[in-house]
Homo-oligomer: 365 residues x 2
DNA sequence: GAACTCAGTGTAAACGTTTTCCCTCAGGTA
DNA sequence: TACCTGAGGGAAAACGTTTACACTGAGTTC
């Protein structure tokens, strides 16, 4: 009745609720409810009448009312860092796919790396009564986790901390993939390897950097701290970090990046400087987004399967929603592995001279 | 009481609702409601007590109950084609930004180009009682629109059709940008221009293709229908379309793509075939996603501002939610324009010979 | 000092569902 | 025929809010 309609359409559009279905089907609303929820005891004759009415009126049940009374929203929260990093859309898609397969919908939140936004997201999740929440980003505060616990909302996340429940962490084995990457470079002959991390105020970025450093050490390569740059996990961040490295007196021969977007930014900085990949620099990314296959040349990277991540997250959440009989409450782990494409090759000072035109003197050893 | 907790934590975690706040603050629930909704008539003394209780209990109001009784969910639906095409995350981000600026949240749906999924999305939007919905994809059926109308849910979309309300369409002026693109190529000397469209069962793809053809004609260039390929708006689609063109006996000298992802796929196919951009082929994309600046070489493309699109969509929706005094109910139009970067240059047979190594004979005229 | 106002509260009725409980009635049994 | 059983359906309570309405008192006006 609020909005007045334009045309000769005088009648208020009839609200279509369970009552209208009930009266059209000449049954009680209880029967309608039972029918649409597939309760087996309802008389097929009545059920048929109900379905007919549902179709005729184009009736959709009101989810809010449903959730309110049943206490279950059939909604799974998914909090990610940043929707414009293609890794996350891929993750979201997998997550959504797995969720709907189990009859859930997803409520998306994106923090943009801001603690304030993270808090807002968590709040929304609670307000909308999600049945569970997957936190695929870093830096969630314990007090928010406590609020989830208070509302009995199970959560999964990839941000391990000593104080936190083990059964809710999806441990990513960064080290395995990064080790493969470092080995791959070492075998090619690289000894001067730089690393562009994500923003170091997140634990994941720290984990990846720490993994890199430790892999370097176990491969017997000495780290040069001038080549450990803090990036932002974005195209711009990768480009800027590489520009910074190119301004250094000594250059590494290979760069590892803590995500693929960073690596693509690096490729661009190299293109600007008229340097070639992999002949001047070898380059390894992390994530293996679909785009990695399409860069020029295609990006060697470390795959973290977002399908795996999504499925394990959902599986974990669901198992705590409908607790199965006996099961181990172990931390799940997500593996990573190297996908070798065309951005890695022999270092420039091993097999070939510098016939290219580098603007500065490369690292000699 | 459902889930049993692990530890010595025997007490059921107390449900925190408006009643608990009311009793802690020693006021009625009505006063709590008025306080948290900033109704100005409440006594500051009581309000202070309420806020204190809210903080103490960490109370979040239940959105479902709120929406149920007020009839307003403060939720805006956003339906997009495909979340893994970076254009859409950028759009989503802008949309969300504008939405929260007005106190709304967004409910995201992604159709993956499947009519069935589109129907499911629309259904979710209605079930969750969105206050309005922006349909940023194509191929929505009239019966779904009717359902929105029946529930008095305003919608905006970019899929014009004769039968549809003018005030709800965001007309995109594809022609302006495409014309600039064709002109740009013509000035460089290109006469043989191919076009890779999106999936032609969507009207937008048809619109862009039609715009291209019409621009070609008004520039006095004859279209070659062998070079009009139907793509999928994806990386893979672009690559495959270009492979197809390269298998033809005659090649165009320039390719326009109906989105940037397609263009990046084309670049990859060219890379595979050891062909150079722009010396062998000029290339123009559409959308201007952030990544376009980062391809190698950076992509010349036609910008459709997703910020503009998002803002206009929200503006339209909001103006119909809270109808202002007097305003024109015109169709809004979104402009497009050429962003010239480095994938366009002189055609290969105008200024230079074929010193490259093309696998096949190029088109001669 | 009585009658009015009106600011500020509280009570209770919605909102559209699910779900518990009770009732009816058909069919089976003695 | 009288009784029991149980399948199936309806009435009504509940979910956590907002909001219409009624109420209380303090301040104002004569």
């Amino acid at each position: 009745m609020k909005r007045s309609r334009k045309a000769a359409d005088t009648s208020t559009p009839a609200k279509i609720d369970i009552r209208s279905v009930a009266s059209l089907a000449r049954v009680s609303i209880a029967t309608v409810s039972r029918t649409i929820n597939h309760v087996p005891t309802v008389d097929p004759i009545l059920a048929a009448r109900v379905w007919k009415a549902v179709r005729e009126l184009n009736y959709f049940p009101n989810t809010q009312a449903r959730a309110l009374v049943s206490g279950k929203s059939r909604l799974l929260g998914l909090i990610v860092s940043e929707i414009t990093n293609p890794f996350f859309p891929e993750l979201i898609q997998e997550f959504e796919h797995a969720a709907v397969a189990h009859g859930y919908e997803i409520l998306l939140g994106s923090t943009n790396y801001e603690p304030k936004t993270m808090e807002l997201c968590s709040r929304r999740m609670i307000e909308r009564m999600v049945d569970g929440v997957a936190i695929m980003t870093f830096g969630i505060e314990d007090f928010l986790l406590d609020r989830f616990t208070a509302d009995n909302i199970p959560f999964v996340f990839i941000d391990p901390a000593p104080s936190r429940p083990l059964n809710s962490v999806l441990a990513v084995d960064y080290r395995a993939g990064i080790y493969e990457g470092v080995q791959h470079l070492a075998v090619l002959g690289h000894r001067d390897i730089g690393f562009i991390s994500g923003p170091l105020n997140r634990r994941s970025a720290q984990s990846r950097k720490a993994a890199f450093l430790s892999c370097l050490e176990s491969t017997g390569i000495k780290a040069n701290h001038d080549w450990l740059i803090e990036g932002t996990h974005t195209l711009d961040g990768g480009r800027d970090a590489m520009r910074h490295i190119l301004a250094l007196p000594n250059w590494p021969t290979a760069i590892m990046c803590s995500n693929d977007m960073t690596a693509i930014g690096v490729q661009h900085a190299l293109f600007e400087a008229n340097l070639k990949v992999p002949s001047d620099f070898s380059l390894i990314g992390f994530d293996d987004i679909h785009l990695a296959e399409y860069t020029i040349p295609p990006l060697t990277t470390i795959r973290m399967s977002c399908k795996d991540l999504a499925n394990k997250a959902i599986e974990n959440l669901l198992s705590r929603l409908n607790p199965p009989e006996g099961q181990g409450e172990d931390a799940t782990t997500i593996t990573t592995r190297l996908i070798a494409r065309q951005t890695t090759g022999f270092p420039r000072n091993t097999l070939q001279d510098l016939k290219q035109t580098p603007a500065r003197k490369p690292q000699s050893r």
